[in-house]
Symmetry: C2
Subunit: 146 residues, 2 copies
């Protein structure tokens, strides 16, 4: 099962959040993009869609979606944050195009071995890991090659 606009709306309502046109617009933009988006980019997109919205509302909505685990943050982006709808609901990671910001998900992060070795070697009780790959997608390779 993957998240749809409808599903996200439903989860938000369940948790007691009202579904305002502004929130719908933010969700729609995030759902409709393959790229990771900064708050500013979401802001511009919503306004390009001729909806009025304040940047404050973008931030507030992002924070809610993030708290509910419905969006993921991309860490290899520059300064500032950048978000993406959570597509696979299971544990996963991102492969990010440095050209166009497109993000591909992958779930088979085979870190169990490394994690076990590290844990044994250091005595650390490992709680989480951060793994991201950055590269250039086929489209951007072509563009750069010409």
């Amino acid at each position: 099962m993957r998240l749809s606009e409808r599903k996200i709306s439903s989860i938000m309502r369940q948790r007691g959040y009202k579904l305002t046109p502004q929130r719908r617009a933010v969700i729609k933009i995030i759902m409709g993009s393959d790229n990771h988006l900064t708050p500013e980019a979401i802001y511009q997109s919503v306004r390009d869609g001729h909806q009025n919205i304040g940047l404050t509302t973008i931030y507030r909505t992002i924070n809610i979606l993030s708290d509910l685990g419905l969006i993921c943050e991309v860490h290899t982006a520059g300064s500032g944050r950048s978000y993406l709808v959570r597509r696979p609901l299971e544990h996963h990671h991102h492969l990010v195009c440095s050209g166009c910001n497109r993000v591909v998900d992958f779930s088979n992060c085979d870190l169990a071995d490394i994690e076990r070795k590290l844990s044994e070697g250091t005595g650390f009780k490992i709680e989480e890991h951060l793994l991201e790959f950055v590269g250039i997608c086929p489209d951007c390779q072509q563009t750069a090659g010409t």
Copy 2:
């Protein structure tokens, strides 16, 4: 070979940077810590050592050290940046204690397989990766357990 204060100083001088007491102090603090440190923490440490310094100078020094590849940024820290001297000069990653911020390095990140599979599956030309583990170190496990 590992970086020493002397080595770092020598590299900086080679690159045309002057060795001021302030820079020495920042290098000494970073070198002397197993933990990742925020600019603010470095600032406090230097001042605790009874050296006068401005926060601006901390930022400028950090930026130089970072440009020269002499310090590493830790990404799993909270908001804001956090730095650590570069200990292994080869490609490596960090295991970070969420209790005391201690950082352990590891070099055998066996991601070549994952990287190859990803590259074949997606057509991306992979350029870099970000890998960090977060856990609790033995000392902090004991403290928490009592």
